[in-house]
Symmetry: C2
């Protein structure tokens, strides 16, 4: 737009060919079960991508707010309506989609699979172990990889793994979640030492029961504690 005043009609006319894009959302729903980080995928129904798995997504409707779309998609495809979705990033590479210029906004969520049973079974839906996935339809493998990278950075800074654990859990269970997400074994002593520095947990004064090993103490995440202990006081000085 140049320095002179411009009317809306001029703007629209001059840029008509830029108004031929579509917007989509893709949902990366991470789940956790059997000590494994998984992601919810659906069998693609698009020509050229048959038999390939893809993320849950759809075009945003012309009269639909962007932020409503991922909830609609998730509900329609899985029946899930109790999942909080967070926007992660937007990908708008030219030619990324075979149907035209489609910009996709990626949302992610972390859910405890046991507490979020899929309610619709007629789509070909499946929880896949994240680190076993070799390829996906479209550029979804690239999207997934970027999302995994964000997730790994996030769990180190914020207590988001609370969404993957029951209310009360042992430090052993906590470490298993971190190992599953970071995809690497962690040293028990170091993990506990560093984790307690964050001051996210409180002791619930109970022990594990019915476990095949020595019962551990149970902890829970403190309420309303979304930032690291070190950082909070800086904000509150």
């Amino acid at each position: 737009m140049s320095a002179g005043k411009k009317t809306i009609a001029e703007l629209t006319r001059e840029n008509r060919e830029d108004f031929q894009m579509a917007l989509s959302v893709d949902c990366v729903i991470f789940g956790y079960e059997q000590n494994t980080l998984k992601v919810l995928l659906i069998k693609s129904d698009l020509e050229g991508f048959e038999e390939e798995w893809s993320l849950l997504g759809d075009l945003v409707k012309r009269n639909e707010n962007l932020e409503d779309a991922p909830y609609r998609v998730l509900k329609a495809r899985t029946g899930l309506d109790d999942v909080f979705l967070e926007q992660v990033f937007t990908i708008g590479t030219v030619d990324r989609h075979p149907a035209g210029r489609v910009i996709t906004v990626v949302y992610y969520s972390l859910v405890n699979i046991r507490d979020h049973q899929l309610k619709l079974e007629h789509h070909e839906l499946h929880w896949h172990p994240v680190y076993e996935i070799q390829s996906l339809a479209f550029d979804h493998k690239k999207i997934l990889d970027a999302c995994v990278k964000k997730l790994r950075a996030k769990v180190i800074k914020y207590p988001v793994v609370r969404n993957l654990l029951p209310e009360k859990f042992s430090l052993r269970a906590l470490q298993q979640v971190y190992e599953a997400i970071l995809d690497t074994p962690l040293d028990r002593r170091n993990f506990r030492k560093k984790f307690f520095l964050m001051n996210w947990l409180e002791d619930v004064k109970e022990m594990e029961t019915d476990v095949p090993h020595r019962p551990g103490k149970l902890y829970r995440f403190k309420k309303n504690n979304v930032s690291a202990a070190v950082a909070t006081p800086i904000n509150k000085l």
Copy 2:
């Protein structure tokens, strides 16, 4: 998209009216000078918004990758070509733009104003103190507010204020940056104590010179340290 296989042509045809959107980028360039957090604004040249200030932005061209657009806009409007821009979030509310359905992707950057002199002067460009801004064109005030909130959360978790300071700086100067961003006075002793816990700084073994107060020790940010000290070891266990 239903469960049956679908061709690309069918997909495009069925969703033709969804392919009438445009994509824009808006750049929130935060700057710092005279102990004040500022943002770079431009006088709007669009009918109905004359005399209002807006963020630097433009429509993404049909054949332009999304990630190239904010650099083009910044270069064209300010001459700046040495600024790193980070994608923050995307806003796609229906009817947010008078020219049609325009989804905007917001990018942000933090620059030391003294080191980034604007090279083009013919646009009406200005650095505005962030906390004095009452309104902006379009929904740009809402975008700015959301960006400021993100920035405030970010400076607590990551050493991004390094971009606002000279290589060597005193703790007094460091505290002033934090006070400018958080828009609140901080307690000197508490600030220093909490900041050193993050382990981001190293002592350069030099003192300030030519200052009207007692010279302070100079520090610099450690190289390649992008995460908090507390968190890093968890990733490296």
